[in-house]
């Protein structure tokens, strides 16, 4: 392979200049003439029948309209998998925070004041907040006849006598917590009607094309009447997958024919978007005397809250990843998604694969301890290698550098060296290794469309609906395009902000953009290069394209650089011939649907691996945990942009650490008590450890230049590594998140007793 020129370099972000200068436009930054403001009335009860009277609000000075269910012009629903959200609740509310009305007024102050006059009469219904309770037949039903909306089964080998053959069996129950994405930019948006009747919606979203479908269906509009412009997105992490402001704003703009804006407060943002699925996980793992993992049984119950959102996919991903990155011959996993009257849960970085390591990584450490093995040794013995078969029967044929990540992490943190502190603050070290399957999975068409076009200015315009949510998609995908065409990075113009111009490239989630859309862009750009060279051959009167190269905006004969044509001129030649140098390509990731009864199949591809090690210090009086050091060894396939990857790893670690130690919604009867940043705690600069990044490359042959997605895997090992380090420091096992000072003190006392 020729040496790569753009891919693999820490190119500077293409969107950074606007962001450092304050010029980047987030949705709240848009002001238009004649603009009106909308404010959402939300349910205050977790489960109730409602009757809405909006007359008083409509009569409030400055109010233009109060929209409720009766005003929705299409199907009053939306939802990424099941359409089980109402745009506005019609008869019943299923959670606190569900939209009931949208008050539009000349000013935000008037809209908020009038919102208080929307009279909602609640007839309270019995509610259920514990998913285990909700599974029972006599539990109050949220939607339809059963609260169990999904059951995934994984069966491998035989469980008969599997555990009896084991020398060690560990068994416990673990509970992860419901947490918020806490992206810095609260939801906002603007909608307006253009002169030709198109309704334009400016919003921060992860998937503009899907939003357009949701809006179209809810309002009964054809797709081409709606245009979604993606503004700068102030963080997403899965929390901008489900619709929030989109339908409300479009409806109001359409009905009132005036530009309309809404901005959520932080408190409202907490109520408006999805959360991470909390999971209750009953786990049993057994190993043979030599440390070989032999059997695992797991039952996982995920709380979906009041709506399905991505619950099926999340609990499926949890089930598939339940074994961890280890070969285990006998496996039985059942995972369930269950409706409750809690806030709804959906996509969040890790997506089910992030919860299960709390169980499998702590159990493998426990097994090692009982067999007197080191945590490193037991992982190396059992971890996936090239040729390993996962619990779903999928053979990992290439790019499995897990052993290397474990070894490098252990070495960099000097894992075996122990601190023998005797003070009330105890130090400990922990390691965790994980895997993560990219993409939608399970045979679902995982499609990325992309277009590459040579334009009059001699530059390559790349069109893809892949959103820049801060992860660096615009930069990394531009690098892939530049490499594939054979031009410099600044010759690429990347357009991803406008659904009327860009093809659908799927969602900016599931760690899929680099792999999926990267592939779509790569094949489009390679074809464009071929056609450009073909035309250059014709214009330059050559007998072949062999020996041609693109150098600084000029196509030239390598051995005779004087024989050349600039890309501008090439465009003009194409135009003269009535030829378009415009290529559309589609990439579909491979994924084989799993069997409904056994879960056997090849659900995801590719898998990405990681091993993180951490050192913590635990104050045995206050229970406060400080993470002192972290070593993050991350498989990336091939690093498209090492600096962007490091940024992802550090941010991923921070998010994983925050989930483990701090974050707590204070959920009580479906109500989020900690709904702002003074009580919903995320780390500051003073809470972060030193982080050493180790990028491990093992190129994947089906990936663009070998690159795999890393957005999610970079956060997953943080939590289990910290929990294992806490155990090493003070000998307690955390079975419920967060590992708060209160919980640590409680467990320390329990241990003493």
């Amino acid at each position: 392979m020729e040496q790569l020129k753009v891919v693999g370099k820490s190119e500077l972000r293409v969107d950074a200049k606007d962001k450092v200068s304050g010029k980047a436009i987030y949705p709240a930054d848009i002001y238009m003439e004649n603009m009106v403001y909308g404010y959402t009335v939300r349910s205050t009860m977790p489960h109730a029948e409602i009757a809405v009277d909006k007359k008083a609000a409509e009569a409030y000075p400055g109010v233009l309209a109060v929209f409720t269910a009766e005003d929705v012009t299409g199907l009053n629903h939306h939802g990424v998998v099941f359409k089980d959200h109402e745009v506005f609740c019609s008869k019943k509310v299923r959670r606190i925070g569900e939209p009931i009305a949208f008050v539009v007024a000349e000013t935000m102050t008037a809209a908020k004041a009038a919102a208080k006059l929307v009279n909602v009469e609640y007839k309270e219904l019995p509610a259920v907040f514990d998913p285990i309770e909700a599974m029972k037949e006599d539990a109050p039903k949220i939607h339809g006849d059963s609260n169990i909306l999904y059951h995934y089964k994984l069966r491998k080998g035989s469980m008969d006598e599997a555990f009896s053959k084991c020398a060690v069996v560990v068994e416990s129950t673990y509970e992860t917590s419901m947490v918020d994405h806490a992206f810095l930019q609260p939801e906002a948006g603007v909608a307006y009607v253009e002169e030709d009747g198109t309704i334009t919606l400016v919003v921060a979203t992860q998937y503009p094309h899907y939003d357009r479908e949701e809006v179209a269906e809810a309002l009964g509009l054809p797709h081409d009447r709606i245009k979604i412009l993606t503004a700068a997105v102030g963080g997403a992490f899965g929390g901008r997958e489900d619709v929030t402001v989109q339908i409300h704003l479009t409806l109001a703009a359409m009905k009132l024919n005036r530009p309309i804006k809404t901005i959520y407060t932080r408190e409202e943002s907490f109520e408006a978007h999805s959360k991470r699925h909390p999971m209750k996980m009953k786990y049993k793992t057994g190993a043979l005397a030599d440390g070989t993992l032999y059997a695992m049984e797991a039952e996982i119950v995920g709380d979906s809250g009041a709506h399905a959102s991505w619950a099926l996919n999340v609990l499926r991903k949890a089930g598939v990843h339940a074994t961890g990155p280890y070969t285990i011959p006998n496996v039985k996993v059942d995972s369930y998604a269950v409706y409750t009257n809690n806030p709804f849960t959906g996509a969040m970085r890790g997506f089910g694969a992030g919860q299960v390591p709390m169980a499998y990584e702590q159990q493998i450490d426990e097994i090692a301890k009982r067999l007197n093995m080191s945590p490193i040794e037991i992982r190396l013995k059992n971890c996936f290698k090239v040729g390993s078969e996962t619990a779903t029967g999928q053979v990992l044929e290439e790019s499995v550098p897990l052993t290397e990540t474990i070894l490098k992490a252990a070495e960099a943190m000097n894992f075996e060296a122990k601190d023998q502190s005797s003070s009330r603050k105890k130090k400990g070290k922990g390691i965790a290794s994980i895997f993560y399957g990219t993409g939608y999975g399970n045979g679902f068409p995982d499609v990325s469309n992309a277009r590459a076009e040579l334009k009059a200015d001699g530059r390559i315009y790349v069109y893809a609906g892949a959103t820049e949510v801060g992860q660096g998609a615009k930069t990394a995908l531009s690098q892939i395009a530049a490499e594939a065409v054979g031009v410099q990075l600044d010759a690429i113009v990347f357009i991803n902000e406008d659904t009327s111009k860009t093809p659908d490239s799927g969602t900016a989630a599931a760690s899929r953009q680099t792999y999926n859309t990267g592939n779509g862009i790569k094949i489009a750009c390679e074809q464009l290069r071929l056609e450009m060279l073909e035309l250059a051959k014709e214009v330059l009167k050559l007998n072949t394209t062999v020996g041609l190269r693109i150098n600084n905006g000029i196509v030239e004969v390598k051995s005779l650089p004087g024989r050349n044509i600039s890309l501008e001129a090439l465009y003009a030649e194409a135009a003269k011939r009535g030829k378009n140098l415009k290529i559309d390509r589609t990439f579909v990731a491979h994924s084989v649907r799993m069997d409904d009864e056994t879960g056997q199949g090849a659900p995801y591809w590719p898998y990405t691996f990681a091993a993180f090690g951490v050192e913590v210090e635990v104050d045995t009086d206050t229970g406060k945990v400080d993470v002192l050091n972290a070593v993050c060894a991350q498989d990336v396939g091939k690093a498209v942009n090492p600096m962007l990857i490091e940024g992802q790893i550090e941010g991923g670690f921070a998010m994983g650490m925050s989930w483990t130690l701090y974050e707590d919604l204070g959920l009580q009867q479906g109500k989020i008590k900690n709904n702002n940043f003074s009580n919903y705690i995320i780390p500051t600069s003073l809470d972060m450890p030193e982080i050493k990044n180790i990028i491990v490359e093992a190129p994947e042959s089906t990936a663009p230049f070998g690159a795999k997605g890393i957005g999610e895997p970079v956060m997953i090992p943080a939590m289990p590594a910290i929990l294992n380090a806490i155990n090493d420091a003070v000998g307690i096992r955390i079975t419920k998140l967060p590992a708060s000072p209160q919980e640590i003190v409680r467990l320390l006392k329990e241990k003493q007793a």
Binding site: R424, D621, G623, K624, Y662, F677, S678, L686, D687, K749
Partner: protein, 284 residues
Amino acid sequence: MNIKVYTPDVLDEAVNFLQQDGGHIIAGGTDLIIELRKEKLKPEFLVDLTFVNELRGILVSDETIEIGAMTTFEDLINSEYIKAELPSLWECAINMGACQIQNRATIGGNICNAAAAADSIPVFMALEAECIIAGADGIRKMSIDSFILGTGKNSLQKGELLKAVAFKRPQKSEINSFAKLGKRNALAISTIACAVRVKVDNRIITEAFVSTGSLGSKAGRELGVEVYLMGKSITDLNIDEAAEVLSAEVEERLKSRASIAYKKHAVKGVFKEAIEKCIKRANQ
């Protein structure tokens, strides 16, 4: 927010505005503006003390220290005197919120809001500070302990404002310190705060002042542990035993609260950190 705002330049003018009904003082504003935005407070007018210069500053005289109510936490952090002689106050200031808050929040605001977790109050209690109150009838003084009535409640009467806090200048024989436990290392509301001040004569503690915050509806002195500390040698102190005394005292006071199972344990760590700093300073 459509509220009339008065911006007096001198104290008398400020006091005059406050004689009308329905007004509220704004000092730094770091707590008040949140209340206004959420409409938890709807005053008819505000008296903004930003420009009353005589309320801002640290006055060090031979006998006393007087800190104006509009003195910011940043002013305390920047004061060489405070850093050297009153580490308890300096540590409290630098651990309060983060820079943006320290730059705006004032001592007067922190005291008058009387939050159970207000960081400066236990420090001033350990210093036996006095609140100097200005009103239409002139000045009156009261101890900070009596000034704070409970969570969110202070002793200001209508038409009055807090002008300053004052306390005796620490003598050479005094050592003081502060420690706080929060949910994170910056931008943290105190879960527990502890201020310690001891007078030491020939290594023996002759007087002890220990106060805590966030352990009840208002900050307060912890007399049991103060008694325990008296007469003990600062260099041979049994810290664990002292911490147990404090823990038992806190448990007795808060036994009906749900948080006590944790706090009675955690207070030991916070106290130990504070007293360890004192010991370190005694050894310097």
